[in-house]
Symmetry: C2
Subunit: 338 residues, 2 copies
């Protein structure tokens, strides 16, 4: 392995406000051999997630921050090319927290073997990966939909939102998706089967939600925060549930610009709850979710879309694409073709 | 009754921002006889509540707004002096939504008979009335305390907060009360038995909560909103519950000044929920709560304090006292001595 070179995207500085390319640096180093219990993965795809912005900040969160000078954290999928653990063989395809790099040395205990013939690899980072699991547990465990209820989802064309809408529909709910731009709104309805779409870039979200949800919103699955969260709170039904999954509109805000929902007392008036969750807490039930999702995909009930960008070196720019809402579907970088 | 004069405090204008005396007007009218199914109550005490500010606003809430020109809504207690319903006799003491006036004509079905010898009358507007019920259901049903947990309460010297702290203590919790000023903080500890008090007028609430809650806050019972809510969110324990009972710091804010908790994503990081409730939803269980509260009072486990101001004509000024946090204990106006 010593003749292989590992390109790595490292965190060069803690961003202030919107992340910028100079917050990252490209470095190279020789590839090391796996030690006992480790495997070496040749990374094929990495996942770009809104949560990455939080990992770049100092301070307490649900995972420790990425240190300045460390390889940027990322989920990835790739092929094992060396192993020092009997449970994983050379040639296995695995998902793992690989980081943004060509080669990742990871503990065998921390990788998950997947079948590369069962689905295109990027799908294991989307509907069959963390975003899919996030949608599944967030909607079903925190939102607890019942047939006939109205479910509103923000970032509805995204990796999590598109799955939330499709599962809600399978559970007998009426679904309204909020997305930015005509293309995404078309995809929300035609591809992901939502009953209605609201284009937050062109329409008055509060007013449109009132039109599309005449009996109020029973479940609001929030990926964005900011004024769209306020618009949803203004239209809650009695006993509504607001599932806090993310707040992409706020992740790049400086502390002084952070915005809380000014009408949060709508939770009181409507006897509603707003609840956060972290998908990692459901590890013991991943298999249950993966089985359900794979079944729905096989039956054609659950559709997925990936937005694939080539080249690890594009990472800083591609991450910006995510925060600008320019991706359609699960955003991944193809690191290698083989 | 025609020779009796009824003084009434009416809503004269919808307040903008902080309520002011000119938003009310004193009027008089002759007292009318009860019609079929009605009773006439001579009001002895009325309750002053933060929620009153919300009732003065136009627009949808959990009860309809008070109309301009109408008698200001208030809970009260008094003696029946005329009746046209067989279920209520002259001389009965009853609680009802009397409004801010000397005499109230109310439906017999809407009054609750109480025993004037079992407790001082103002207590039926405090710990034995809506504030007590609010504390009971909010803490037990929404907060769901378990022994050993840490419960933080804002407005801890107030009508609701003081009861929340005492019930939490009975349920085996550690209790921290937030109140304004040394007198209130002393009362929080010495009178209401909290384990610790934080004086928000003198101390850094966020820092003090961190000191007093080394394992984080399991239940935060919020009566105030604003920066104190943010300080509590910054100190949540995993799986915390934030009980939204009120937001007195926000009730007099104009729309542009309204403030949501900027760090609401602490709910996600801590897998926590924030939930609102309205005490009226628990009407079917009022008797259960009243029995429990009366029992605790009899055993000396639940203490109550009332802040009594004389004279219905003081209502506009006395209401301001509430919003300035100048009352210690349940604020009531004595309308009449007999």
């Amino acid at each position: 392995m010593t003749n292989l070179t590992n390109r790595q995207i490292k965190l060069a500085a803690r961003p202030v406000g919107m992340v910028k390319p100079s917050d990252f640096a490209l470095a190279t180093e020789p590839v090391a051999q796996p030690g006992p219990g480790e495997v070496l993965v040749k990374v094929q795809y990495i996942s770009l997630d809104p949560a990455m912005r939080g990992w770049m900040n100092e301070g307490r969160s649900y995972v420790r921050p990425v240190g300045v000078g460390e390889v940027m954290r990322a989920g990835g999928i790739g092929r094992v090319i060396a192993t020092d653990d009997s449970s994983i063989a050379v040639g296995d395809t695995v998902t793992a927290t690989t980081g943004v790099q060509d080669y990742a040395l990871v503990k065998a205990a921390d990788v998950v073997k997947v079948d590369p013939r069962a689905a295109p690899l990027p799908r294991y980072l989307g509907v069959l990966g963390m975003p899919g699991l996030t949608a599944y547990f967030g909607l079903l465990d925190i939102g607890r939909p019942t047939p006939g209820e109205t479910v509103v989802v923000s970032a509805a064309a995204g990796a999590v939102g598109s799955v939330v809408g499709q599962i809600a529909k399978m559970k007998g709910c009426r679904t309204v998706g909020i997305a930015g731009g005509a293309d995404k709104c078309r995809s929300v309805i035609e591809e992901f089967g939502f009953d209605a779409a609201v284009d937050y870039k062109q329409e008055d979200v509060r007013k449109k939600l009132r039109e599309h949800c005449p009996n109020g919103i029973d479940i609001y699955f929030d990926n964005v925060g900011g004024p769209i969260l306020e618009a949803a709170l203004a239209n809650l039904a009695c006993k509504a549930r607001v599932v806090l999954c993310g707040a992409i509109s706020q992740y790049n805000a400086t502390r002084d610009d952070l915005r809380g929902p000014r009408n949060y007392m709508a939770l009181l008036v409507n006897r509603a709850r707003m609840e956060g969750f972290v998908v990692f807490d459901y590890a013991a039930r991943y298999a249950e979710a993966a089985r359900a999702m794979a079944g729905w995909i096989a039956e054609g009930k659950l559709k997925a879309r990936e937005d694939i960008v080539d080249g690890i070196e594009t990472f800083p720019q591609t991450l910006l694409k995510l925060f600008r809402g320019e991706n359609l579907g699960k955003l991944v970088i193809r690191v290698s073709n083989d």
